[in-house]
Point group: C2
Chain length 352, copies 2
């Protein structure tokens, strides 16, 4: 028998607390006023999502629920609801199924990523493969993809295809990333190709789909796709920074996973570029090790500390956040416009 | 870098040869006349499938093509085209995208199954995880699912949901199977729950979807769902038999995978029921071993040989084939009706 018993669930923060957390502490005043509204949107999206999981597949429901509970910060549904409202929607119900679908796609990818990366922890709890075993993790990911497409099936074909392209981008990004593992010579261009597909495409596709459903012009749809793409890149570059310089308790997972797995990031590529002589050679050698000891990881960090790579990485994320903000020109002014700009900057400045 | 180079491709038989092979040697005369027509249908379905894979995802295209080439016997698309024509369609184009979608779903499942089962060979060639590595195999499966849903997106929502339910059934079946591994006490009822989901649901869903698209009555849709379900079960029970008593060269994979992986089947459950005393205890002990030696596998076969389990398994498959045939009452008489009946019996009597 498989160990089909999830670890005990830790209490989750309320959605309002979660939204406040994501929005951050020093938000502009008019942003604060929309938090309860968005928390209520997220609650309905969550309800739609969990309703989808609880239907006649008891064996999968456990692992699927486990994967979706403590569902992280709900950044994607939050951005989708905020975008919908920013475009003038008084009621976000028309996008709830779509937001649940994109959240399921995101979660499915995390589950399969944890299989691929042999990750033990996710958001402070055992990962799905750790808690349920590899076979269950693979099919749970499949099941979440399927449920996502079932949710998406109520939308026009063009919207379903946006979901599909986002998923295909995610898969392509994963293979591109594998191709460059342990290989610092893959370079910045390759890195950006990876994260555009692995992180940015789903945000971009989700917001373009929301704009399409709300009947926005092609120009506004394109703007929001650009905003999502730039925000996604800012988010990922910050993620790579936090993987070395973040607080593991806040992050809910150990540091140095990119060093360990040999995933080149802006941080490691800039560190490598900033070193020379013996230190550069040592960095290359350690980075390429398939099995790194804790001292190897700490040494990679020490070498990174000697360069301006940390600052360059922080600045790179901020630059993408500003590109995201600059893409919002077609979105009507108002508190939701302010919120979207604020969320892009938070993605680049967040601590977890 | 990943070893992203597929093994050399062996020449594939023509689709007409493939259809003739699947139809078998001693078919009724009027079945022979429809073979070229069905081969031409399969060719168009194949073209639609491969067209879907060749679009802007170069990293995935290799592994996805590899998984779909030597795409087996195309039993599902063949049954779909035959069903469509049996219901009176003069042109199967309306179901080509759907047949390609179901074939992709089937292939995606095989790729993920090979990851789960650590299978080295599939249809005489290295499996996808063996040829491309585990990460690529996981995302290639995901990609094939996604492409399947993109193809399905051109159909009405009810048809898309039939695809979704078939996929969810497949995932649930996989977890149910995992739950019973190495456990002969799980019993026949559990076994049938597994194969209804893992094998029968996709055939049943595919044929019901074809009937729906052709505008058949609810009764005929139900009949074809039943036919597909019974044929799928017959096919799987025969598969389990061939896993011990088949010819590995014809099958393209080694024998005894169910013994090795500890998957209870009609064959092993009947063998276990037919033994007693020391032999029964030995069968139980060997079956439960996580790591079996070749001599353990041969001994399991020897013990099976002593019982009437082989004959019972052959008869069980035939009984399900007759149930499939009995479900065809609503399908108009004619060569395609004869073919569908013949294919059910072939599923239960085939040698590979």
């Amino acid at each position: 028998m498989m160990p089909f018993t999830p670890a005990s669930e830790s209490a989750e923060p309320s959605l309002e607390a979660l939204v406040s957390q994501t929005v951050g502490a020093d938000f502009p005043e008019d942003v604060g006023s929309v938090v309860p509204q968005l928390a209520s949107d997220l609650q309905e999206i969550d309800a739609r999502l969990f309703e989808t999981l609880h239907t006649s597949y008891p064996q999968l429901a456990d692992a699927a629920n486990y994967a979706c509970r403590a569902g992280g910060k709900r950044v994607r549904p939050l951005l989708m609801a905020a975008t919908h409202r920013a475009l003038g929607a008084a009621d976000t119900r028309p996008i709830h199924a779509l937001a649940a679908a994109f959240q399921l796609i995101h979660t499915a990818t995390l589950v399969h990523d944890d299989v691929i990366d042999h990750a033990e922890l996710r958001r402070g709890r055992p990962s799905v493969p750790r808690a349920f075993g590899l076979p269950a993790a693979i099919v749970t990911g499949d099941f979440l993809f399927v449920r996502a497409f079932e949710l998406a099936s109520e939308y026009p074909r063009s919207v379903i295809l946006r979901c599909g392209e986002a998923c295909a981008d995610l898969a392509e990004g994963e293979v591109l990333q594998e191709n460059a593992r342990f290989d610092l010579s893959s370079g910045r261009e390759h890195y950006f190709r990876v994260i555009e597909r692995k992180t940015a495409a789903i945000v971009s596709g989700a917001l373009a789909a929301v704009a399409e459903i709300e009947g926005a012009s092609n120009e506004v749809i394109e703007d929001l796709a650009m905003y999502g793409r730039a925000l996604g890149i800012a988010f990922q570059v910050r993620d790579d920074y936090l993987d070395v310089y973040g607080d593991p308790d806040l992050l809910g997972k150990p540091l140095y996973s990119d060093y360990r797995e040999g995933n080149p990031t802006v941080l490691s590529l800039e560190a490598h570029a900033g070193l020379d002589g013996i230190a550069k050679a040592e960095f290359e050698r350690l980075f390429a090790l398939r099995h790194k000891q804790p001292r190897d990881l700490l040494r990679l960090k020490e070498l990174t500390d000697r360069t301006d790579a940390p600052k360059r990485t922080v600045d790179e994320a901020k630059m993408w956040a500003e590109r995201a903000v600059a893409s919002l020109t077609g979105v009507p002014a108002g508190p939701y416009h302010v919120l979207l700009a604020h969320l892009a900057r938070e993605a680049a400045g967040r601590r977890f």
